[in-house]
Amino acid sequence: MVGDDDMNVNVDEMTRMQSAPTVVPPRLEVAEARREASEDFDALPTEIAVRGLDFFYGKEQALFSNDIDIKKNRVTAVIGPSGCGKSTHIRTYNRIYNLYRDQRATGAIMMDGVNILGSVDLLDLRRRIGMIFQKPSPFPMTVFENVAYGLRQHYRLGKSELSMRVEDALKRSAIWDEVKHKLNEPGNALSGGQQQRLCIARAIAAEPDVVLMDEPCSAIDPVATAKIEELILELKDRYTIVLVTHNMQQAARVSDFTAFFFQGRIVEFGPTTQIFSNPREKQTEEYITGRFG
């Protein structure tokens, strides 16, 4: 239920984390990757650090002890065969799973020294973490109102500043020229690709820190997909992006780091170039080369 702030939390983990808010202890896999990384992994600031994340649908466990570091201002791709837990994983970051009674997460997800899975104000968390869904879902209101939604909700702005920010968000989402004459038309009057860019504009207008993208291109045509991929590369300067995709080529094109999921576990995580050219795990290699999934 939304608004529920008490979640099961691994207390030991949390106290350990909170004693050292910004230093993330190196994990084994990360340490190994570092040897071959082209940039200094540990020097990059971490936006979100996941430790020991388990997830349950009712009695069924879907995620097993996930550990991952999401690096600030970088694109992290999450790949894997369908049903492996990719979406489930990123949906823990903004606690959107809280809407559903029988879904539960345990472990620690640290952001700014606070465990997201603990007692946090969900409204504030979701102000800082935006989400793009697989199916473009504009709200039943005009284009302008869609983009202004988050701004109006969290901030007090004058009319002119609001308009300016809406225009800015639409421009940065590479859709301004297409909709500038249609600002007062309903959001769902746009094409699929445009709707998705509208949703991106809506998400970034409120200036989040992180943008989660759950297979944003799978319901859209290839031309629109290319536009969105371009967009992602531009956006990462300002935001941290986590991209779930079943399209490996997309992950290779667009991301800096890649995590490979299989059956609820993170099999391998590292720089994209390394994952795709020189995967360490056999499963990773089999997936990359298309031998399964």
Binding site: M1, V2, G3, N94, I96, L99, R101, L122, L123, D124, L125, R126, R127, G130, M131, F133, Q134, K135, S137, F139, P140, M141, Y149, G150, Q153, H154, C199, R202, A203, A206
Partner: protein, 336 residues
């Protein structure tokens, strides 16, 4: 093969059917007969409606000739003095229905919100069923319980309390010259009516709210909205038209409610109500109460004319609701 064909061969076309031609021909009328019967039944439903309208007009004709539509401008219904005015009844009908909707609509909205967003689906099913049971309770039961339980409460406690607050001075609440204490009044009838239309509006609202796509709601929550904000800014906009349609239909039903209103509204036919706490009457309850006392033909005809007026009003509401829903259905491309 024969076991399959045996029961059906009588109607089969093709070589076998042609061979047993006499049999086939006799039974091939089965379908046309069936179709005709079905079509006739379907048309009967529609024809009845026009028959109803026609009879009402025909039988109220004497009164229409005598009174014109003066019924609509004259206040009092008093056959003993030859007055056949429907205005008091129209006012009472409108007021009691408005009171009912003012209570029922917000109540239905928050209950639907609860059923859709706030409780476990199993609980929602139980509560929803409970409210639907409310819809099954006949009007006369509401009337009786209202009469013996609600009326004394409103008379002895509620009305005096309201009149003591500043609310008591507002026109429309401040008692008029016919005030009888507020127990048997337009207000009481409205309150009970509210719970008679509540189930329908709640059920429809719940159904259309459940049709809001889950992704869209998640997107709303993902933006950091509260439950109420998602409901207000997103879900209600989606469900808007369906809910409005339900309100139209509920309004129409409340207009025609007879028994509960007859018990509770105070049966005052002769004056315009100045306050919702005044006694009054509604068209339906007036007809119900006066019909058995009607002796001469003019009186009966006048009552039928009154019935015609009520019929016209309710049909108008139904038609408006249908037009609205059809327009909405076309706009959204699906069922609203």
């Amino acid at each position: 093969m024969s076991t399959v064909e045996a029961p059906l061969s009588s109607g089969a076309s093709g070589p076998r059917g042609a061979e047993s031609a006499p049999r086939g021909r006799r039974l091939r009328i089965g379908d046309p007969v069936f179709r005709t019967l079905a079509t006739a039944s379907g048309i009967a439903v529609a024809v009845m409606m026009f028959g109803l309208a026609a009879i009402l007009v025909y039988k109220s004709w004497p009164a229409i000739q005598a009174l014109g539509f003066g019924m609509l401008t004259h206040v009092a219904w008093s056959p003993s003095t030859g007055e056949y005015g429907a205005l008091a009844a129209l006012a009472g009908t409108a007021l009691s229905t408005i009171v009912a909707m003012v209570i029922a609509v917000p109540l239905a909205m928050v209950i639907a919100l609860l059923l859709v967003e706030l409780v476990h689906p199993a609980v929602a099913r139980v509560v929803g069923t409970g409210i639907e049971m409310l819809a099954a309770i006949p009007s006369i039961i509401f009337g009786m319980v209202g009469l013996f339980v609600i009326v004394p409460f409103i008379q002895d406690r509620f009305t005096p309390w309201v009149l003591n607050t500043p609310l008591g001075k507002i026109p429309g609440i401040e008692p008029g010259p016919q005030f009888q204490g507020g127990g048997l009044s337009i207000f009481t009838a409205g309150v009970v009516l509210a719970f008679m239309v509540l189930p329908f509006i709640t059920a429809v609202s719940r159904d259309v709210l459940m049709m809001v796509p889950r992704v869209t709601k998640e997107a709303g929550y993902g933006m950091g909205s509260t439950t109420w904000e998602v409901m207000r800014k997103i879900s209600l906009r989606y469900a808007n038209s369906g809910i409005v349609g339900a309100i139209f239909i509920g309004f129409g039903r409340a207009l025609g409610e007879t028994m509960a209103v007859a018990y509770l509204i105070g049966s005052l036919y002769t004056d315009m109500p100045r306050s919702i706490f005044d006694p009054g009457t509604s068209i339906a309850s007036l007809i119900a109460q006066q019909f058995s006392e009607a002796t001469d033909k003019v009186q009966v005809s006048a009552l039928i004319e009154l019935g015609l007026i009520l019929f016209a009003i309710t049909v108008l509401f139904q038609v408006l609701a249908q037009l609205w829903l059809r327009r909405v259905r076309r706009a959204t491309g699906g069922r609203a």
